[in-house]
């Protein structure tokens, strides 16, 4: 197996860096609502060098231009993105001068790409093997038999189950974590010199991410391929990269060895990224009487066939935060649906201020509805794109309190102040707001109802770390001022540490660990909580190997 994957000891190609990007400039044409289309600069004067067999991490928030730079090494621009300046030297020649024909020859041969969502990046109509060997056959790096043999060896290398036969499956027949590894195998199959990894583990659960990360790292080391590793998660990139390049707004902030960047960042922005998760939150002691109690709730989809909640019992205390953590499919969001009445429980009850809440949403009073509000992960789809911020926040005021005219406008302005946005936004449409601002408007909308509980369903998961931190701080401040309780659903344990008073760990529909934060996060742990905690990437070189070794339980989805 090792033979088929190893590279020749002496590279026949010329010396010098594999990839040498000089003064890259990339522009895109944007069509802002209500304005004339204009060109914006996405990447401005960025230069980088990558030696053979080395891994360079590109890191930054969304809009920093990391993916754009990564794709430029293949001469590719998404949508209306165009490379307008600079040189991209790959194996010593400028790929911008090769024309469309030249680009096609290098794509899939010299440079391969691993996308963020392998589930979307695989063609649902073809078997995995046909897609894995496609580039190798196209570029003639081997016969079909040879390519398939190499693919199977790569499947083994990447610890995929049943490597001999997994290629016969269709993409929908394997899990997300497995697909991500198959995609890595696909990239390695045509023996490229460089692979662009574009957030390859971001869409995965933490418990799955760690395995995929380890598999990718091994594959990079054993095949000797060079890589551009794009991510917004510094802890992840610290595990796989030799060097790290920090980008912001399309410009280079800092470039250095991995150890230097995470231990001794020279730029202020880099230090902000490194220290991003550290919000100190003092846990509040649970009160005597919870205002909302979920007792022995069992809920199912498909008329009782698929049980997604099993005998769940949790309490929420006034003005406190209960965090619900677990991987996807563990029943976190279903718990929220049961509490809000969207999915009536089959068994068990939900009590609110001492009385039983009706199971079904339709049977609840307007007052009950007002008391329980929700904020969602995708702020932009949770708002009507054709309503202004003022209308969106004003709607619950009209609906629950019958506020009109000046009175309503005053309250809307007040709420905008609370979310630190100011009145200038009252006439804006959601499309004119940034991701963080959209989520703030959603928070204001839920606060407008003066609820006693806000259910936050992965509200920071789609945001950049620094922006997410701002949202968390805001939620904590608002809790102080308004004495509102949160049910905070997340898969991100770092977030949990910063906001929770008590924690419920969910696994396959059951609460496996529940109590005050300090207690839940103190050993001894049950196996699942241990896996969950040990899977959260830490900004420390060598963490990955240590974590893999120390695990007591296998993660699902592999």
């Amino acid at each position: 197996m090792a033979d088929i994957l190893a590279r020749p000891a002496v590279e026949p190609k010329q010396q010098g860096p594999l990839l040498d990007i000089r003064n890259l400039r990339i522009e895109a044409r944007v069509y802002p609502p209500g304005e004339n289309p204009r060109n914006i600069v996405i990447v401005d004067d960025v230069s980088l060098k990558l030696e053979r067999g080395r891994v360079l991490g590109l890191i930054g928030e969304s809009g920093a231009g990391k993916s754009t730079i990564g794709l430029s090494s293949m001469g590719y621009g998404r949508g209306g993105v165009r490379i307008t300046g600079g040189e991209i030297l790959l194996n010593g020649r400028d790929i911008r001068k090769g024309g469309a024909q030249g680009l096609r020859k290098l794509r899939g041969r010299e440079v391969c790409y691993v996308a963020q969502s392998a589930a979307a990046a695989f063609n649902p109509a073809h078997r995995l093997m046909d897609q894995v060997v496609e580039a190798a056959l196209l570029h003639g790096t081997g016969s079909r038999t040879e390519a398939e043999k190499r693919a199977v060896a790569l499947f083994k290398k990447l610890s995929l189950p049943d490597p001999e036969n997994i290629g016969r499956r269709f993409p929908h027949q394997v899990s997300g974590g497995q697909l991500q590894r198959v995609m890595t195998a696909m990239a390695l199959c045509s023996e490229p010199d460089l692979i662009v990894f574009d957030e390859p583990t971001t869409a995965l659960d933490v418990t799955t991410q760690i395995d995929v990360l380890a598999a990718i790292k091994d594959a990079i080391r054993d095949t000797g391929v060079a890589a551009l590793y794009i991510t917004h998660d510094l802890a992840v990139v610290a595990q796989v990269s030799d060097e790290i390049m920090v980008l912001r707004h399309g410009k280079l902030v800092e470039w250095g060895g991995t150890r230097q960047i995470i231990k001794e960042p020279r730029q202020e922005y880099t230090s902000a990224l490194v220290s991003v998760h550290e919000i100190e939150h003092q846990e509040k002691k649970p009160g005597t009487t919870p205002f909302l109690s979920v007792k022995n709730v069992t809920a199912a989809y498909g008329g009782g066939t698929v049980k997604v909640l099993k005998n769940v019992t949790v309490d929420i205390f006034p003005g406190q935060t209960l965090a619900v953590v677990g991987e996807s499919g563990s029943g976190k969001s279903t718990l929220a649906r049961a509490i809000t009445g969207l999915l009536p429980p089959m068994e068990g009850s939900i009590t609110f201020s001492g009385r039983k809440l009706a199971n079904r949403l339709a049977d609840r009073t307007k007052e009950d509805l007002r008391q329980l509000q929700m904020i969602y992960q995708m702020a932009d789809v949770a708002m009507n794109p054709r309503q202004t911020v003022g209308t969106i926040i004003g709607r619950p005021l009209e609906f629950y309190f019958d506020m009109r005219g000046k009175e309503r406008d005053r309250r809307v302005a007040e709420l905008l102040e609370k979310i630190e946005m100011g009145q200038g936004f009252i006439d804006r449409y959601p499309a004119e707001l940034s991701g963080g601002q959209k989520q703030r408007v959603c928070i204001a909308r839920s606060l407008a109802a003066k609820p006693s509980l806000i259910i936050c369903d992965e509200v920071t998961s789609a945001l950049d770390p620094l922006v997410a931190n701002g949202i968390l701080k805001l939620l904590l401040d608002l809790q102080q001022e308004e004495d509102v309780a949160y049910l905070f659903i997340t898969h991100d344990l770092a977030t949990v540490k910063s906001i929770a008073d008590s924690i419920a760990v969910m696994y396959r529909g059951e609460v496996v660990r529940y109590g005050p934060k300090s207690q839940v996060l103190t050993p001894p742990f049950d196996d699942y909580t241990d896996l969950l905690l040990s899977s959260v990437p830490e900004m420390e070189i060598g963490w990955l190997e240590k974590a893999i070794k120390g695990r007591r339980m296998e993660s699902a989805g592999n």
């Binding site: 293949m74 794509r107 109509a125 073809h126 929908h172 339980m553």
Partner: protein, 345 residues
């Protein structure tokens, strides 16, 4: 990490955690169930249509006996004929008698000619299917190919030319296209006959020459719709992430469309193709009349003008059966081309 890594070992089960995964019911492959459902639904629909057709012809004013015997008939002969035809029975009995006949291949007797409907209709159905077949053989591959080319050169001159011509040919009414074809190919250049006479035992090539013009007219009518839908369906798929994957493998633009976009756009394309096939059979009335082609359309028009209710019923039922049958085919093809249904987890 060696190949004996923990991730290949069986997952550890923690105490207290149950794992009752939803189990798939054993037995028939889900695709078979789905297909059987569609076919059953189609048959039910056809049954409902037969009720509607029968009820519709009952509501129409007029008396069949009167229609056969004419104004001068005596009351006695009318009564006798009604008795003979079973017109005095309740509607339900007559409906099932009619349905029973249809199921055994007896479509009744034409009032105007007294001939057996089934035997005079069969050769005409054959003629219509023959014309539809050749129009389909030309138009479907042409439409799909033009659609692919339009996507390849989307928003360019080629795309615009294809779309423009196709739209122009759809916007023109079919009788106008028909007369244009007759004017140029039959009258001016005299390549093809203006009247598409066919008869039993006609040599194949003569027959093909006879249907050249009506088949061309039909092709032009259905081409644009199929082409535009093919283009739209593929363009829709072209937004997918896996198209980018294909592009980044270095595939050429046409290979991307053919290998990666087209297979995922097949279901909507089949749907529109089937709709147009149905039109080729049931919508040919005008074209058949223009070219005096002895098919179902001609037959229907003739008998509508003679108020020959049994013939109208029979033709209506056949048209409905063709329509429903092709739509079932489209549904089944849609199911079969979906890998998620074909290969469940």
């Amino acid at each position: 990490m060696s190949t004996e890594s923990p991730s290949t070992a069986a997952p550890l089960r923690t105490a207290g955690l149950t794992s009752d995964k939803p189990t798939r019911p054993r037995g028939a492959h889900p695709v078979l169930t789905l297909v059987a459902q569609r076919v059953a639904l189609g048959l039910l629909l056809l049954f409902a249509v037969s009720v509607l057709i029968f009820a519709g012809t009952q509501i129409l004013p007029g008396d069949v006996a009167q229609a056969i015997l004419g104004q001068s008939a005596t009351a006695q002969s009318l009564a006798n004929l009604r008795e003979e035809l079973g017109l005095n029975d309740p509607a339900i009995v007559r409906y099932f008698r009619w349905l029973g006949g249809v199921l055994t291949g007896d479509l009744g007797t034409a009032l105007s000619s007294g001939q057996n409907i089934a035997s005079s209709l069969l050769p005409r159905l054959w003629n219509t299917l023959f014309l539809a077949f050749w129009a389909a053989i030309v138009s479907i591959p042409l439409a799909v190919l033009l659609g692919l080319i339009a996507v390849r050169y989307r928003n360019g001159a080629v795309d615009k030319a294809i779309s423009g011509l196709a739209l122009a040919s759809t916007s023109l009414p079919e009788f106008f296209i028909g007369y244009l074809l007759v004017f140029f190919f039959a009258v001016k250049w005299q390549w093809f006959p203006a009247i598409s006479t066919v008869y039993e035992g006609m040599p194949f090539l003569d027959r093909m020459q006879a249907i050249a013009l009506p088949a061309t007219a039909l092709t032009l009518v259905v081409l644009a719709h199929m082409m535009r839908m093919t283009r739209a369906a593929i363009l829709n798929v072209m937004q997918s992430a896996y198209i980018e994957t294909a592009e980044l493998k270095g595939l050429s633009a046409f290979d991307i469309i053919r290998k990666h976009a087209f297979p995922n756009a097949v279901a909507p394309i089949i749907n529109v193709v089937m709709l147009n096939l149905a039109f080729l059979v049931v919508g040919v009335v005008v074209v058949e009349v223009i070219f005096v082609y002895p098919g179902m359309g001609q037959y229907l028009v003739d008998h509508v003008s003679k108020r020959d209710v049994p013939v109208v019923q029979a033709v209506g039922l056949i048209f409905a059966a063709v329509y429903i049958g092709l739509n079932i085919l489209a549904d089944v093809a849609g199911i079969l081309t979906n890998p998620r249904l074909r290969h469940p987890r």
